[in-house]
């Protein structure tokens, strides 16, 4: 783990690492797998760790042979669409990943270069909500629309702690499965997006999401300044009345080598944008992490794993902190 003086430097670092891993890839096709990841692959007994390793090694599967070497049949049966296959039709199509899976994998062109993820270090979060503010400013959201919200929770020793909650970008997103018109889809970098030109506003996705991560556009009295771009699912601004909106992971930013608004806005460096392909994460302090190692060493957890959603957002807990506390509703 290296500390760099600023954000820009961190991104430079990220690019170098990406370039290296791409060059050393087996078939030279994108960045199918990192050498580090292969060397990491050892049998694990701890179940949590096991599934994570398995998960990270999925990008190996995209390249093909590594899957067989790695975890065999069982691996292949493991949620094929989590492997980051390109959406069959892109965001303009019928909504991406449903029903694609391994078959699509085999026939698709170059697999995507990135699989975006996020790590939120609760030890660093002070609950200032500057992530929320930065997000709302960038996306012209109303005060109610907290695409990344910060919840105040109590740990086992009675201490208060804070938990930012963006969209979990689930690999098995309930919101996607329940959408009657495929307005919600998962693009090829693993980001779950909403096509607001398709959404009928039934709010079934809001009912299905266990993380309360979806926000509707209820009122027409929201004003937007003139914007130079048309709204897209990656940057759905201005939001459309009568449709649902959610955190986009600022996937446009990420693909241009920038941090997401929330990560950039976090003065504590609690939010890391990560890429599972290159196994790298960066925060606003310029800290660059090797994702798999960082998650492993800090016993990272996902939120509500019992929901079987397989989030791409990991949390690093402090002593006594427990995300389950969040599930116990206060009245």
């Amino acid at each position: 783990m290296r500390k760099l003086s600023n954000n820009k430097q961190a991104l430079e670092e990220l690019k170098v690492i990406q370039a290296e891993s791409c060059a050393s890839s087996i078939d030279g096709q994108g960045c199918p797998i990192t050498p580090e990841l292969l060397s990491d692959e050892q049998p694990e007994s701890d179940e949590k760790d096991f599934s994570r390793r398995r998960f990270l090694s999925m990008f190996g599967a995209a390249a093909g042979a590594a899957a067989v070497i790695g975890t065999g049949i069982e691996f292949l049966s493991y949620r094929a669409y989590a492997q980051g296959a390109p959406a069959t039709n892109g965001w303009t199509g019928t909504g991406g990943m449903t029903g694609s899976g391994a078959a699509t994998m085999a026939s698709s062109e170059a697999p995507p270069t990135h699989q975006w993820a996020m790590v939120i270090d609760l030890r660093a979060c002070n609950g200032c909500k500057s992530c929320t503010a930065a997000c709302q400013k960038a996306h012209y959201l109303t005060p109610d629309q907290t695409w990344i919200d910060v919840f105040s929770l109590t740990d086992s020793t009675g201490q208060q702690y804070h938990m930012p909650r963006p969209c979990m970008q689930c690999e098995n997103p309930p919101c996607l499965h329940v959408c009657p018109v495929h307005a919600t889809f998962r693009q090829d970098q693993g980001v779950v997006l909403v096509n607001q030109d398709r959404c009928i506003g039934c709010r079934m996705c809001m009912a299905a999401c266990p993380y309360e991560a979806r926000y509707f556009n209820w009122n027409s009295n929201v004003t937007y300044p003139p914007l130079p771009v048309q709204p897209t699912p990656e940057f759905p601004v201005p939001q459309r009345l009568g449709t649902v909106g959610k955190c986009t992971f600022c996937v446009g930013n990420l693909n241009h080598g920038l941090l997401s608004e929330c990560a950039a806005g976090c003065s504590m460096g609690a939010i890391y944008n990560g890429d599972l392909k290159t196994d790298v994460g960066v925060n606003s302090m310029g800290t660059t992490i090797k994702l798999s190692k960082f998650l492993d060493e800090n016993d990272a957890v996902t939120f509500k794993p019992e929901q079987n959603t397989h989030p791409r957002v990991w949390y690093i807990l402090g002593h006594g902190q427990n995300l389950d506390a969040a599930a116990t509703a206060k009245s």
Partner: protein
């Protein structure tokens, strides 16, 4: 339509029997007159006033909807922590009451309950009107109703809402068919009774819809066969509709919705409220359309027993639902909010008006009359709407991540649109029975006057007895002389084939 035709027309049922003597008017010609008269003749001032008033309310609903389209669902009180509220409740409640009408009629048909004859048209008409209203409530529920067609084009079979669409669509279709089939002989009778048309449009419409019905044995056999089939189909179909509707809730992971009990819970709620609405509608049309002679206290008491039984089952399911979650204490948030929290007034209103009241009315002999049962039924219909609010709102407003409870506030928009739906029921029925007979003439002639109570075909004796054990034991339903004095003591009329078509 010419108003001067009207007085002559009112007499026509007698002409049909070739008998102008009013004293010898028998039960059937009275039934014909009562059923057909509202479709012809001049409407009363009260009728026109009612239609005008109800139309105004419906119109106000449309105005409110246009306002909502312009300003967004926020105008109806919705917010991110109350993303489903009044309109989905309306969808469930209206389609629910429709189920009651359809299933009551279907089950009474299948079990050969001949007393059903004067009621079936009202029950099926109620089913038809309410299912259409209920289905239409999906539109104010949607944020983008103009994109509704996408459900058909960008089909996602893994979405519960797609299957809701399929289920509701199929059910609407089945309800129309179920309503139409018994209508075939009736429309032929009406055309025959009215004779050659002064109003050719209506004559042609009836003629086309009655499919050359002549009442031949073969036609009768065919129609009965098809009707039994459709009655048989509509029961499981209605069960599936309400199960699928409930799965829109139960397939989410929200505590309070993610319950295995939800499908039967919804089905019974639908049956219960639907039976209550049939009683309300029967009571209203009995009075407004002078059907006292045909729809008697006996009908109300029997329907009341069915309603009370369903009410007890529903109370049991409510308890079973809350018991398991409440006892383990894992997800008690929504239960404490329901029983003692902000939704307590709603919940206890349901308990008192939706359970205690109808059971007391049915149990106590003194209240077990038309007025009492009608009052209780009005209470049940309202209380079951309220109960749906209690099913929807606590789980939807509960915080899933340790935030605060959300809240839903009714606005003039949501109230107006909901009231428009309520007003559309009587309006729809009144307009419907302006076009078609309010009672199933053919069935009534087939069953005969007191066939309704005593004249039973052999294969239905068992079912009949099973259903009427309670009714007979209290001494209120033996014979036709009860009710409130409107019943003529003309004795049993055995329908004769030659007077039929």
């Amino acid at each position: 339509m010419k108003k001067e035709d009207v007085d002559d027309r009112a007499l026509l049922p007698d002409k049909a029997f070739g008998n102008g003597d009013h004293k010898e008017r028998d039960w059937i010609s009275d039934a014909r007159r009562a059923a057909i008269a509202p479709t012809i003749g001049r409407t009363s001032v009260r009728w026109r006033l009612s239609v005008a008033l109800l139309s105004l309310v419906v119109l106000a609903g449309f105005v409110a909807w246009i306002y909502q389209l312009k300003h967004g669902l926020g105008a109806a009180g919705y917010n991110d922590q109350a993303f489903w509220a009044v309109y989905i409740v309306d969808v469930i409640a209206f389609i629910g009451v429709s189920y009651g009408g359809a299933v009551i009629s279907a089950i009474l048909r299948l079990t050969g309950q001949s007393w059903r004859a004067p009621l079936t048209r009202l029950a099926e008409g109620t089913a038809l009107v309410t299912v259409i209203i209920g289905a239409l409530f999906i539109f104010p529920h949607l944020g983008r109703p103009e994109r509704f067609w996408e459900i058909l084009v960008y089909v996602n079979t893994s979405s519960p809402l797609f299957w809701d669409f399929v289920a509701i669509g199929t059910y609407v279709l089945a309800t129309v068919v179920f309503f139409y089939l018994p209508l075939i002989p009736d429309l032929a009778i009406v055309n025959k009774v009215l004779g050659r048309p002064d109003r050719p449009a209506r004559y042609r419409l009836y003629k086309a819809l009655s499919l050359n019905w002549m009442g031949s044995e073969r036609q009768r056999r065919l129609l009965h066969g098809v009707m039994s089939l459709v009655a048989l189909i509509i029961v499981p179909l209605a069960v599936s509709v309400h199960s699928v509707l409930s799965w829109a809730f139960a397939t989410t992971s929200r505590p309070g919705w993610n319950e295995t009990i939800l499908p039967p819970y919804f089905v019974i709620a639908a049956l219960y409220s639907g039976t209550a609405l049939v009683i309300v509608v029967a009571s209203a049309f009995r009075k407004g359309y002078n059907l006292q002679r045909f729809i008697t206290k006996r009908h109300f008491v029997r329907l009341g027993y069915i309603m009370a039984a369903l009410g007890l089952v529903y109370a049991y399911l409510t308890l079973a639902d809350m018991m398991t979650d409440g006892y383990t204490g894992i997800t008690t948030g929504w239960i404490s909010q329901t029983v003692t929290g902000r939704y307590a007034p709603w919940f206890w209103f349901y308990v008192l008006v939706g359970e205690v009241l109808p059971i007391v009315v049915v149990a106590v002999k003194r209240f077990r009359n038309i007025a009492g049962l009608t009052t209780a039924s009005v209470g049940v219909v309202i209380a079951l709407w309220v109960k749906r609010i209690v099913i929807v709102l606590p789980p939807v407003t509960q915080p899933l991540i340790g935030g605060h409870w959300g809240s839903y506030h009714f606005t003039w928009v949501s109230v107006t649109i909901t009231l428009a739906g309520v007003a559309a029921i009587p309006l729809g029925l009144m307009l419907l029975f302006r076009l078609i007979p309010v009672m199933s003439i053919d069935e009534m002639e087939e069953m005969g006057e007191l066939g309704s109570a005593e004249q039973v075909s052999e294969h239905t004796i068992v079912a009949q007895e099973l259903l009427s054990v309670g009714a007979n034991s209290n001494g209120h339903s033996n014979g036709h002389g009860n009710g409130n004095g409107h019943v003529h003591g003309n004795g049993i009329h055995v329908p004769e084939k030659e007077v039929q078509l």
